[in-house]
């Protein structure tokens, strides 16, 4: 297949876990062949990126280091990626399916003439084709899909493949941004972050998610305290976001974020299919709900029927005893 380009998402010089999963997976898959994995990364400062990307198996790194990448702006990232694709001439480009990638994937596919398979959970590549599996119909069904062409893009759902170290000593080339924010017609004016949004939900190893069963500030504090024990992210169902108790940025589901942590707590979440579509890829799911018939128990590994206001304080104490 020749060259495979892997886009590594990063922030503040730290590579995202979802991208390291993809990089590691591709690097281990091509072991023993003549294929080469080239990573490209777009950030302001290199931080630990070079070292981390080498540890997870890149043969070469294209470092686009420029203040232009301080904040996400689709035209700026798209131009950088198109530049990396021209420089590498890969047959396959693999991404982690983050919001930033979703924002540019269609546009750069048109601009580079690529065939694209978005948001897959597994894939295998051959000469001139890729076959993949992707969840459809709110994850009720899996579609086996095939793309053909000289250039194919695949974006992979986080948590679908494993990030295992596969150290190499990559060569590094540094570039400036080919397009800067000032070159674009659109302008980024402001970024609003919720005050409690300190942990990136889609990257967190533990997520504690609140549903309609979390009714007030007392319940919210229980969610925060449980998440805090693990340095975990705080999520919410659409129903509870609509009560304004949790910010829209916390929403998990078909509409909101798709998460796949090692451990997912569903507190007072009934388990509507739209919510499940955003978390069913989690490794271990624990559900606590008053209603024994709540659909969430069909997706959970462990279930407790009970009032979360009674169960969670005991749970917090018990976890503290083991930490």
């Amino acid at each position: 297949m020749g060259k495979i380009l892997v886009h590594v998402g990063s922030q503040g010089g730290e590579a995202k876990r979802s991208s390291l999963e993809v990089l590691s997976h591709v690097s281990r898959k091509i072991a023993g062949s003549d294929d080469v994995v080239v990573a490209c990364v777009f950030d302001v400062n290199p931080g630990r990126l070079e070292q981390t990307i080498g540890e997870y198996g890149a043969d070469d790194i294209l470092m686009y280091m420029d203040p232009a990448y301080e904040s996400h702006l689709n035209g700026v990232l798209a131009a950088g990626l198109e530049d990396a694709i021209r420089a590498t001439a890969p047959s396959l480009v693999v991404f982690a399916s983050s919001e930033s990638v979703k924002d540019i994937l269609g546009a750069i596919a048109v601009n580079t003439g690529a065939a694209v398979l978005p948001d897959v959970v597994s894939f295998s590549a051959g000469s001139g084709f890729v076959e993949a599996v992707r969840p459809v119909m709110a994850a009720k069904s899996l579609a086996r899909v095939r793309a053909e062409g000289e250039l194919i893009f695949v974006s992979v759902r986080s948590g679908s493949v494993e990030a295992i170290k596969n150290p190499k000593n990559p060569g590094t080339t540094t570039f400036e941004a080919p397009i800067k924010p000032a070159d674009l017609k659109q302008q980024l004016k402001e970024i609003i972050k919720a005050a409690d949004e300190t942990v990136d939900l889609s990257e967190a190893r533990v997520v504690v998610a609140a549903g309609r069963g979390v009714k007030d500030e007392v319940g919210k504090r229980l969610v925060e305290e449980l998440a805090g024990l693990f340095g975990g992210g705080i999520g919410a169902s659409r129903a509870v976001v609509e009560t304004d108790l949790f910010p829209a940025t916390a929403q998990i589901g078909q509409t909101g974020k798709v998460v796949s942590p090692d451990l997912y707590f569903a507190l007072g979440i009934s388990g509507a299919i739209q919510h499940v579509a955003g978390m069913s890829n989690s490794r271990m799911i624990v559900a606590i709900n008053k209603d024994a018939d709540a659909p969430i128990f069909e997706y959970a590994d462990y279930g407790i029927v009970g009032d979360l206001y009674t169960v969670v304080p005991l749970l917090i104490e018990e976890i503290k005893r083991h930490k």
């Binding site: 899996l142 829209a248 090692d262």
Partner: protein, 243 residues
């Protein structure tokens, strides 16, 4: 101001997807609603475009009943086999023959969840664009439109000059339910139905569908609350790999 809203008819994924019930894609419904809110009380026009089989006309009627002005329907019995790339190419060739200020799309369709068509269409038309919008508003001091989009870390507020393209999240609004008056009026609105040849080849296709592996049912922990919690934490310590 002229809005072009791209809509799609999809299976109702909230219930049994095999029921055959077809609906207006929920994200597209939010795009229609957003256009209605922005044009309220003005002489702006909301034009719809849909690619789909003859039976998708009822979805166009629904969006017209919500309050859109007119529609074009590219009638194709094979639209299901068109991938995002060929849909976007067809939409782009239509956009080239009409006037518009703002193109709105749903951020994805609720059947395939691919989310590619909007960005592809923007690239074909070389328009500035924003995806996954949760807010859309005019600003007095600015000629274009202000978009709030949900990004990876926080909400990004962007100014987009016209013409532009925006893909809408259903978090943006709650689409109105057509009134009886709206439904009656929609019957008189024109739908320009056009047969078309799909000349663009799809570079991707669906081979088959599979059922996801059924998860084992949850182990329900029994006993007094303290006992349930103790058993749960034991399982977490042994199996989660977090401790």
């Amino acid at each position: 101001m002229k809005f072009l809203v791209c809509i799609k008819q999809v299976p109702d994924v909230s219930g049994n997807v095999n029921s055959g019930r077809m609906v207006l894609n929920a994200y597209d419904a939010s795009a229609v609603e957003a256009a209605l809110v922005l044009t309220e009380g003005t002489d702006s026009e909301i034009h719809l475009v849909l690619i789909g089989p003859d039976s998708a006309k009822e979805t166009i009627r629904k969006a017209l009943a919500m309050g859109a002005s007119s529609a074009v329907h590219f009638v194709s019995a094979e639209s299901d086999s068109m991938d995002s790339g060929s849909i976007a190419a067809q939409l782009a060739s239509y956009c080239a023959e009409i006037q518009f200020d703002i193109v709105l799309c749903g951020k994805q369709s609720q059947d395939t969840d691919a989310g590619l068509t909007g960005g592809m269409l923007a690239a074909h038309l070389k328009l500035p664009y924003a995806t996954n919008a949760v807010g859309l508003a005019y600003q007095d001091s600015y000629d274009g439109i202000v978009v709030t989009r949900q990004g990876d870390s926080g909400q990004e507020i962007l100014q987009l000059p016209l013409p532009c393209l925006v893909t809408c999240s259903n978090d943006m609004n709650n689409p109105r339910i057509p009134s009886l008056k709206g439904i009656m009026q929609a019957k008189k609105k024109s739908i320009d139905a056009r047969q078309f040849e799909n000349n663009s080849l799809s570079s991707t296709r669906i081979l088959n569908y599979e059922q996801p592996a059924a998860r084992e049912p949850a182990r329900m922990l029994e006993g007094e609350t303290e006992e349930k919690v103790t058993a749960l934490v034991l399982a977490l310590v042994q199996e989660s790999g977090i401790f």
